[in-house]
Every structure is written in C-alpha cells, then in structure tokens.
Amino acid sequence: MFDLTFFITRAVQQGIPLLYGSTGETLTEKSGNLNLGIPGVMYVGAMSGVIGAFFYEQSAKGALNPVLAVLIPLLSCLFGSLCMGLIYSVLTVSLRANQNVTGLALTTFGVGFGNFFGGALIKLAGSDVPSIALSATSACFKRSLPFASKLGWFGQVFLSYSFLAYAAVIISLLVAYVLKRTRIGLHLRAVGENPATADAAGISVGRYKYWATCIGSMIAGLGGIYYVMDYASGVWSNDGFGDRGWLAIALVIFTIWRPNVGVLASFLFGGLYILHMYIPSGMNLATKELYKMIPYIVTLVVLVVTSMRNKRENLPPQSLGLSYFREER
C-alpha cells in the first residue's frame, strides 16, 4: 500500500541535503563563481563533522553532553567546508585559475578526503563492517519536537524533522531575501553579472566573491553533515553520499538561481530521487536505474523550457565561470 504521508516525509529528508547544497551553490554562482566542487565540499563537510563527532564520542566515553555533541561536529563541519571554499577562492579569484578545472579537482579531492579519513576512522574504531556508527551523536542531532507524533499526519509531514531540516529552509529563505532585497544582495548580483561594472561602481569584486564562495561552501557543507547524522542515522560508509552533490548543482539550474523556489523544488527532487523504490519494477535492476535518472531528466526539461522562453532574468549570471582582472586589455 502506498503511504503518502510517509513518502512525503522521506522525500523531505532526501531533499534537505540537496537544499543545503543548492542554496550554497546559488549564493556562490551569484558572485560569478561556478563552483563545481560542491559535491567535494559536501563530502568534506560530512567527513569533518564525522571526525569531530568520533573524537568527542571517544573522549566522552558514553556520557555525551547533548549541546557539545551537536556543537562540535557542527563547527568542525563548518570549518572543513570553509577550508574548501577558501581553496577554491584563492585559486580562482586571487590566482585566476580556470573555475571548471578547479571545481572538478576539488570534487575529486573532497571525495578522496572523505574516503581516506573514513577508512582511517574505521580502522581506529576496529569495526567489523566497513562503516562507523555514531548513533549517540546522531540521536542528539535527530531530536525533534516531542509532540509531533501526537498530531497525526500533520505532525508527520510538517513537524517531525530535526532542527537542521528547519535550518535549511530558513537559510534558503534568508539567502533569497538577502539577494533580492538588500544592498549586499544587489552588489553581489552585480558582481556576478558584470564584475567590471561593479568594480567601476566602487564594489570590491574580490571580497564579494570570497565571501559568497566561502559562505556558500559552509552552507553546502551542512548538507553533508545532515546526511550523515540525520538521514543515515550517524552511519558513515565510504561513497555513501553518492551523487547528491551533482543533484544539488542540477537543482540550482532547476530553480533558475532562486533559493526560495529551491525549498519546494528540493523536496520534489527528493521525491523523484526515491521514486524508484515505490514504482514496482520487479527484480529488474536496469529499470530501477532508469528511474533514478528522473531528476536529471526534469532538469534537462527545465533547461529547454527556460531557454525557449528566453527571459533575461532566467539566465545564469552573465560572468558565471569567468575570472575577473581589472587591468586586462
């Protein structure tokens, strides 16, 4: 029997990492930086959080302080993803390296970083299975409102999630507001559209690019830790995060660079992502793989539709992917 309430809850949980990733990437792209390293950033974010949690659990020996259990992994996650954002910014903004190459390298690096330290931690923990379970930390992350379960389907669909899920929605709406309604947002959009103009108007292009990329990376990194601590119940296994990072980048295009649209779109993508579990396909694994393609196909359709409508506001930031150098002739 198809349980709609349960499906929606699952879709939302799937969607939250995508939402973090796409909000971070949108913020970054609005500054004209095409950070294809987002999958790597989310990996590093997740792994840094796991490392923090692992050592705290080891040192606390079972008696976890819930506040610290949340705060330590969260801060190490933010630190890890900030480093990734900084590497990207130094390479592309200060040294004007090619953005695509840098981004792809960071993704490869990030996945490798995650798997390397994942392997190291698994050895340290001496576990029999190739994964680490941080269930105590995860329990602190997963706390939700106690009365949600008493409110029937309403509580299930709207109130049953952990704090990181609500934070994702709030951050997206906040980013959307900043981009649209504040002077900082106006300047950031100008930098991404036309850095020479922004520069001539007295806006520090480099500073905006650095800030947007670093904050964007930190937001994306949160998606990684949400996945491990909440969605996967604190179990880290190598390559477990899968292709969600790429899906987050697809989501940026799908939402035509609007984080507020991203809130619902990410849940839709989450639903599409797990749809293959709900469609009876028998034992044929090939069909299942085909269903997993649905989110990407939807993105392609959106690309076609928006390019046919050809509205200037729906196009990517004009200088996306280009480095800026003031005295270039």
Binding site: R183, L186, R189, T197, A200, G202, I203, Q318, E327
Partner: protein
Amino acid sequence: MEKVAAVKMRDITKSFGSVKANDGVWLDIYKGEILALLGENGSGKTTLMNMLAGIYFPDEGKILVDDREVVIRSPKDAFDLGIGMIHQHFKLVDVLSAAENIILGLEGKLDLKAAKEKIRAICDAYGFEVDPDQKIYDMSVSQKQTVEIVKVLYRGADILILDEPTAVLTPQETDKLFAVLRNMRDDGKAIVIITHKMHEVEELSDRVAVLRHGQFVGDMLTKDTDAQEMTNMMVGHPVVLNIERPEPKDPKPRIRVEGLTVRSVDGILKLDDVSFTANSGEILGVAGISGSGQKELLEAIAGLQPVEKGSISYLEEDGTPEELIGKDPLSIAAMGVSLSFVPEDRLGMGLVGNMDLADNMMLRSFRRRKGFFTDRKSPHDLAERVVSDLEVVTPGIATPVRRLSGGNVQKVLVGREIAAAPTVLLTAYAVRGLDINSSYTIYDLINKQKAAGVAVIYVGEDLDVLLELSDRILVLCGGKVSGIVDGRRTSKREVGLMMTKLGGGRG
C-alpha cells in the same frame, strides 16, 4: 573671470608591459569649462582618464584635486573626490533596472523609493528622460548613456569625463546630449570629452588638449584654433583633411535588390520590402541608427542571411542578371562580392585573433588550391604587401592579429578584402573607433576601389563622413528604406530626420 582648476595632473606616467601608454603628461581641467581631449588611437587618452577614474593606477606622477594632492586607488576614491567617468563601453548591469544601476555601489540601507525620487529630481534639473524602473536590456543606446550620466550626477560628481559619448548616437540625440552638457557646464561642473570628431570639438568644447604617443603636446582655446591645426598637432605632421569624391565613371547597375524582406531567428522583422540598385564605380552609403537592418542587408547580399521574400540580382557587365538568393556564400564570394564587416569588438568577424597575419590572409584563399596541402606562400606575400601598402604597424607577419591595435586590425581586414579584387565591396563600420589619420587611409582605399569600377556599399556611423564620401545615400529606418538621397545635395539634418522617421517625417 579667472578659471579655477578642478584637477591638475602632473608628470603622469603609466606603462603596460613595455609600452608606455602615458609619458610625463601634464593636464589641467577647469571648472565651468568643457575640455576636449584629442589624440590618435593608442595615444593614451582613455588610459589617462582611467587613472582619474580609479580604473588604473599611475606608475609615476601626482594628481591634485582642488589643489590638494590625492591618491585615487579605486573608482570609489574617484567618486568621493567628485570624479565620474562615462566609459565608451557602458558599465551597466543588463538585468537590473535603471534605478538599481544608479545606486550600485553606494552604502546604506537599500531604499529604492527614495532613490527614484532623487533620480527624478536630477532628470528634471538637467532635462533627462529616464524611467527608473526600466531594465537596461530594454533600453536603446542613448537611453543607456543617459542612465550613465544620471548615475554619475547622482553621486554628486563635479568632474565628468565622457569617453567618445557620441560614437553611438544619432545627430538628434547628440544635439540633446550637448545641450545637457552645456547646462552642466553653466552649473559650474568640469567636463572632459574624448572624441575623434572634429566638428564636435569645434561645436561643443571651450578648450582642447592634445596627446600624441602618450605625451602631452599642448592645449589651446577652441575658438583660437581649427580642425586643420588640431589634426596636425595630433598626427605630428600636416595632414590633408579632405575626402575626395570623384565623379563616378561610367556607372552601370551592378546589384539590384527588390522587395527584400528578412526576419531574424526570433521572428523579428529586420528588413521590410527593401529595394535599391548599387552601381559600379559608385559609393552607395547606407545610413541608419545602429540596428536598423544594416547588418542584415549586407549579410543577405553576401549569402549569410536567410531571406524571407524578395530578390537580389547580380548584373554582369552586359546586363544579364543572376539571382544571388539561394547561392551559398562561397559561390557568391567567387563572383566577386566581398564583405568586410567590422563589428564592435573588431575581431568578431572575419579575422581570428590568435592567428597571425599570414594565416588570416589564408582564411580567404585556402580553398582555391586543390590537394591535401595548403599553399602558404601566396598568403604570406599578400600579408607583406598589405603591411607595406597600408602602413600596418606590426612587429612582423607572424604576430597574432589580437596583439595589433584596433586601427591596424582594421587595415588588415579591409586590405585582405580589397586584395581579393572584388567587383562589389560591402563594408560596414570600416573606420569604427579609428583615429582621423587611419580613417583617411581607409577612405582613400575605398575611393581607389571606386575608381577601379567596383560597386561599393558603405555602411557608416559618422554622418559627416557619409555625406562627404558617398555618391548616393540609402537611409534605413527600422528595416525599411526611408529614402535614397544624392550625397552631393542632401544635408545632415535631412538624413538625420530620415533615420528616425520614415521619409524624414514629410511623407
């Protein structure tokens, strides 16, 4: 009344690599005065002004504003000193509205409502027309320029620098701009205008300063000098300032266009029922506001543009017509129809920036030789001939075209097209952005082709030149033929009116 200096530039030097763009330049800019800054291409006018605007930083020398030595490190510093520059390529963000562009870079809370109020007040004071909510991509070139000027005034600039502001305007728009500039001068503002057009200098400016090869040559009051003297100062030796217009010899119809209708890919009507004849041994000028279908017209003749309706025939010496529509560009070119289009970025069409001169010559000829290997010798010879005939300044034939200055790039392009010995020469914006000396070289080349019996179709921006060079002028207005006038008998006013209104508003 004693003039007060708003800006003094002393011993300013700026190098790009091994090239000295400015070398010990002294310049004074006075309040309540319009200064015209003159010089050939690459003489360092824009570089000098960019240093005032904070885009570049001088290597040596000092700048004094109101007799106080200042350091301008960024455009923001320039704004704080009341210096505003309107660049040749507008610095506007397309997807933002006029108001958003105007307040870009300012501090404080984002209050669009108050900003719009202030914009309206500025517009009323000087006679601008700006809709603060209009998006930049919806605007015409002159509207964009107006936004640029309002932007500078919004920041309270007292010193305005305009880099070739009239290059893209119609005569009527230019008149309007000049009226506004005079208003601002009378308001006590200091204005610097960079331009190549002598008659504008004479009409508008109070004082002229001349740069040559990055060095300051001298300045004088406009009323004490004339175009001849200014040009001589710019070039460094006497120059003859007359465009010749020999009577056409034995003109015969060469290209006949009838009822030509062209739509762009998006379905927008670009040319609507255009008919005319171009004669051999004659220069047919094409005038019109940019984007009135000039590009489409030339491309349709060259076979690069799909045609919806109409016919284009090429008439042989004996008068037998041959239809060009439906032929591919290569066979049209083989018949002797040659197109040289100089786009805004100069390299976009016809030349490959990263290839050297000889290779660019080869683009035109490599198909002629059968067989697996290409012929490298004759393009190399041709390149050498073009370089020596047209006095192209280049380190050598093996230099990538991208490294040449704009004027030399254009000489290479036009030289190659002419070397193909065409019977029809289509040329658009051949002198775009060129200084007066190089422009005259190009006019000379075109006149030589005319004398050789080539039918020349010349699309130009500068009406004064069109009027002096063309035998007849075809005026386009929104893709329709507004009229064909005799170049010897018409006036700038008449052509200008025809550009903005079909038939000049009389018919």
